[in-house]
């Protein structure tokens, strides 16, 4: 229909999205909801410019009108274009793929899911001093049917599961909290209910609650420049903010300048910048062989097969996240396959896949034993970075002092900050595959209108030297 109206290229994504959200708070059910959305988005090139329109009117007339609107919008775009859009070549694919899972979370009785959350909630509330307990589960099942005017017809079904628990303690003039297995919604993977069962919430709930209370009596994290060991989930977020975003080629090219920002990784840095120390290797890997991450798929939303791209190799910056439109700008013949959309009513754009640091040789025990004086920080509490991705500051829920190769007292209000390349060049140890986990970040925002996307970040604990610690709570 779009081609008939003058489009030189068209693709369509029909998406059926189902979601279930469960939360509890202080022993009561909080949110209990389920949603379903079916619609399609049509993306076209006409008059050399992009147009996109979406609709939930799934009739022949509705789809025709949507296609006509997409073409008309593209022609309006052409009023303010500088050159014609050019797409990197990609073969046409006809395929169907389903992400692997053992237990369909939508087939697990709601009673079972709520019973587990309420039991974890109760286990946290049993700890004296806890003032607020929260738990959550979230499940998504998304079917996408992609078709393009170049002949691709691809169906994918992705099932995503997530879960987390939080204990908060308000005491005196401070609020402290601990989360498991991660903060801000817990852990999320491309998988089924087996994730929830693997987390053993009931075992961890008392510990989380006890730590939230104990933090009030802990020593304030000192302000100093020194050695820092980051836990795996925090390192995952560090990768997300200081590697994953700056390598987005649309950001590098100024396409996000008004909102998400630009990047210090200008095109002249490719294969020249010493991004990190030589032990650091980072990949963007969307293939299922990398693991069940939120950035795992068979094809991206332009119909490009999942790939592994070297981002940092032996410390050198060597790759961007690209699309069919941007690939040729860095001399690639083919897109890196990183274009994704939040839903049928959003334009697909470059997003992180699974941007992961590859494991090193250390065990955490050996790493701590090898550290004479340092601070081990775990579980993110806040994160912030400038709009070109140079200067960052993170705080975590908890930290432990390391003295003489031993993990000693608990520290509260930990934070650290730095400049991206200086920080990554100070990395001198990375823990091994036994500590490596593909963490899910379900809430990455980008684009206008804003799109929320899940990204994956494989990480194991790692050590950094000469890091600025404690600045967030400094009074100077």
């Amino acid at each position: 229909m779009a081609r008939l109206r003058g489009a030189t290229y068209a693709d369509v994504r029909v998406m059926h999205m189902r979601q279930r959200d469960l939360t509890t708070k202080n022993g009561q059910v909080g949110t209990l909801g389920q949603s379903e959305s079916l619609g399609l988005g049509i993306r076209v090139i006409a008059s050399g410019a992009w147009g996109f329109a979406s609709t939930d009117v799934m009739t022949r007339e509705g789809v025709a009108a949507c296609a006509a609107q997409a073409v008309a919008i593209a022609k309006a775009s052409a009023l303010a274009k500088k050159k014609d859009v050019r797409l990197a070549h990609e073969a046409a694919y006809v395929d169907s793929w389903q992400s692997p899972f053992v237990k369909d979370p939508f087939e697990i009785p709601l009673e079972t899911q709520l019973k587990l959350l309420l039991a974890a909630d109760e286990a946290m509330r049993r700890v004296k001093g806890v003032t607020l307990t929260e738990t959550d589960m979230q499940f998504r099942k998304v079917d996408t049917w992609f078709a393009s005017s170049e002949g691709s017809k691809i169906h994918q079904r992705r099932v995503v599961s997530g879960c987390g628990i939080v204990a908060t303690c308000f005491q005196g003039d401070a609020i402290q909290k601990r989360s498991y297995p991660n903060s801000f919604g817990g852990q999320h993977v491309l998988g089924g209910y087996e994730l929830i069962e693997s987390l053993d919430l009931l075992k961890h709930a008392p510990r989380v609650a006890e730590e939230a209370v104990a933090l009030h009596d802990a020593t304030q994290c000192p302000e100093r420049t020194g050695t820092l060991i980051l836990g795996g989930s925090q390192l995952g977020l560090q990768i997300h903010e200081s590697i994953g975003h700056p390598i987005e080629l649309d950001r590098v090219l100024g396409q996000e300048a008004n909102f998400a920002g630009t990047s210090f990784l200008t095109l002249d840095q490719l294969h020249h910048l010493r991004y990190a120390s030589p032990i650091v290797n980072v990949v963007a890997d969307a293939r299922i062989s990398h693991g069940p991450g939120l950035g795992t798929f068979a094809y991206d939303d332009e119909g490009v097969p999942a790939q592994r791209i070297d981002i940092i190799k032996d410390g050198e910056f060597c790759g961007y996240l690209s699309s069919r439109e941007t690939a040729h700008l860095i001399g690639l013949e083919r897109s890196g396959g990183t274009v994704r959309t939040e839903g049928w009513n959003r334009l697909p754009m470059i997003r992180m896949t699974n941007v992961s640091i590859l494991p090193g040789p250390w065990t955490l025990e050996h790493l701590i034993a090898d550290t004479n004086e340092g601070i081990l920080m775990e579980t993110n509490r806040s994160w912030s970075i400038d709009d070109r991705r140079y200067q960052f500051q993170f705080s975590t829920e908890i930290a432990w002092e390391i003295q003489g190769g031993k993990k000693t007292r608990m520290l509260k209000n930990p934070s650290y900050s730095g400049i991206t390349t200086e920080f990554w060049n100070s990395c001198d140890a990375i823990c091994n595959a036994g500590h490596w986990l593909l963490w899910g970040t379900p809430n990455c925002g980008k684009g206008q209108p804003m799109q929320t996307m899940g990204t994956g970040h494989g990480a194991s604990p790692a050590r950094f030297r000469n890091v600025k610690i404690g600045t967030a709570f400094s009074d100077e």
Binding site: T23, K25, N26, G30, T31, L32, G33, Q34, E36, S37, G39, A49, W50, F52, A53, T55, V57, E61, G62, A65, Q69, A70, A72, I73, A76, A80, K82, P109, L110, E111, L114, T131, T168, F170, D173, I175, L253, Q255, E256, A257, N258, N345, R346, L347, S382, S384, I385, D386, D387, Y390, Q391, Q393, N413, S417, I419, Q448, P449, T471, A472, S474
Partner: protein, 468 residues
């Protein structure tokens, strides 16, 4: 009326690049009535239905050209049932009667799967609302061509000045109907337009943005010109030492920082002991020049005159001359606190309760110009970026300055400065406000639009400096 037919009818209205119409409000009423009829037939005594339709279009530009241009049209039906002290919500965008029936059944199944909630309140009955006219046909009719022409003019202005423009021009309309089986019925529709522009010159950039119900209140070229002039002035920034500075925050910077307080004003957050106002009611927290209300009826605000349960929103004085006087309440939190709901509840079920969605910080009689004139040494801040909470009780926030930080010396705006990271308590900040300008609707990126004034603040803490 067969709701499925209404969808097909709407489809025939499409086809042009913009100016797409919302359905006749009666079609949304018919969908709501269908749901309540199905619930009654099923023997469900308490059901609530929320029908929402959104038509939105956004033209995005960068490198002095349009690179993304999108439109969406969607409708959702959200159904909540209450049976025997249990409630759950199911949302769908299918409006055929069979789909609505299935959603209703799902809601009942979800509700039945949980323990009884002894605190669950019955649905509210019929309410009265103050009429609000926030649907502007000129905004609703704006076409993709009109947006593209405005964008083109902004890009041409940038190109003439050797600069690069990036931004958005968005226009949209929405309508909502909320109805329940106890006779409550609420309806509202509005339009909204937004123009945001960043001008880049060399390594520097600046920014301007406006958001309004009426697109005619937005002047894209004037905004582009402002951003252009500030970008030119942002060249070759000087690196200053971190520390405490007197700052002049433009309205967007005030909004994005002070807006983080909105959730702390929720009675449920205070009850949960996660608000920075826990244990601080009635205390003087800010300077005497700070008065904060929540007022959806303010002429520059947007949003419906009712909350997620359909209760009428009330104007609430939250902070009066620096003293924390009131919170906002949903029906549930009001009952716990033995007071009256203020019409700020979220749609149920949820664990967060409520929040003020239309904050107004009262202005003063100063102006940005006067603030600059009266400053011996300080910094003028265009906007802030990536603001996150570092300490929830002292309300210490971190973030960056962005798109134009200028040194003010001896009453004059001077050289640009490299961007700073701040770690600043909002509670402390609002106790250090020396001057306030006139309050207007401001638009940033971190908080929803609110009515705030520019502020001159002493002792604002910058902790580190970045590379640009």
């Amino acid at each position: 009326m067969n709701a499925g037919n209404t969808m097909r009818g709407a489809a025939t209205k499409r086809g042009k690049a913009g100016g797409e119409a919302l359905r006749d409000g009666r079609e949304l009423r018919a969908i709501a009535a269908t749901v309540l009829r199905l619930a009654k037939q099923r023997g469900v005594k308490e059901a609530e239905v929320h029908v929402e339709e959104v038509v939105d279009a956004l033209t995005r530009f960068a490198n002095n050209a349009i690179h993304q241009n999108v439109a969406e049209h969607g409708l959702t039906v959200s159904i909540r049932t209450l049976v025997d002290g249990r409630t759950a919500r199911v949302t769908t965008n299918r409006v055929e009667e069979d789909a609505l029936r299935a959603a209703l059944e799902n809601s009942l199944a979800l509700a039945a799967s949980q323990p009884k909630d002894p605190h669950l309140l019955p649905l509210p009955g019929k309410q009265k609302y103050r009429a609000l006219q926030r649907f502007i046909p000129a905004t609703a009719k704006l076409t993709a061509e009109a947006r593209a022409r405005a964008v083109k003019r902004a890009c041409e202005l940038a190109a003439r000045r050797g600069q690069i423009a990036a931004g958005i021009f968005e226009s949209g309309q929405s309508q909502t109907v909320l109805s329940n089986s106890r006779g409550l019925f609420a309806a509202y529709r509005q339009t909204q337009a937004e123009f945001s522009v960043t001008l880049q010159q060399g390594g520097a950039a600046s920014w301007a943005k406006a958001n309004a119900a009426d697109v005619r209140a937005i002047d894209p070229i004037a905004l582009a010109r402002t951003a252009s002039e500030k970008a030119k002035r942002a060249q070759n920034p000087v690196e200053l030492d971190p520390g405490r500075y007197t700052v002049i925050l433009e309205p967007a910077a005030v909004l994005d920082l002070a807006g983080f307080l909105f959730y702390d004003f929720a009675a449920t957050a205070v009850e949960d002991k996660r608000s920075c106002f826990s244990g601080r009611m009635g205390k003087t927290l800010f300077g005497k020049n700070i008065t904060i209300t929540d007022d959806v009826y303010h002429p520059e605000q947007l949003g419906p005159p009712f909350d997620g349960e359909g209760l009428p929103r009330q104007r609430v004085v939250l902070v009066d001359k620096g003293v924390l006087r009131n919170l906002v309440y949903s029906r549930r939190s009001a009952k716990t606190a033995r007071t009256y709901p203020t019409g700020h509840g979220f749609a149920l079920p949820n664990e967060y309760g409520e929040a003020p969605m239309n904050l107004v910080i009262a202005g003063g009689n100063s102006s940005l110009e006067e603030m600059v004139r009266s400053t011996e040494r300080g910094l003028l801040v265009t906007r802030l970026w990536y603001i996150r909470e570092v300490d929830p009780y002292e309300k210490i926030m971190t973030g960056m300055t962005r798109d134009g930080l200028y040194l003010v010396e001896k009453g004059q705006i001077g050289r640009a400065a490299r961007n700073f990271r701040f770690n600043q308590s909002i509670l402390e900040m609002l106790g250090n406000v020396e001057l306030l300008g006139t309050a207007h609707r401001a638009s940033g990126e971190e908080s929803m639009e609110m009515v705030v004034p520019p502020m001159k603040i002493r002792g604002f803490q910058f902790s580190e400096v970045t590379k640009f």
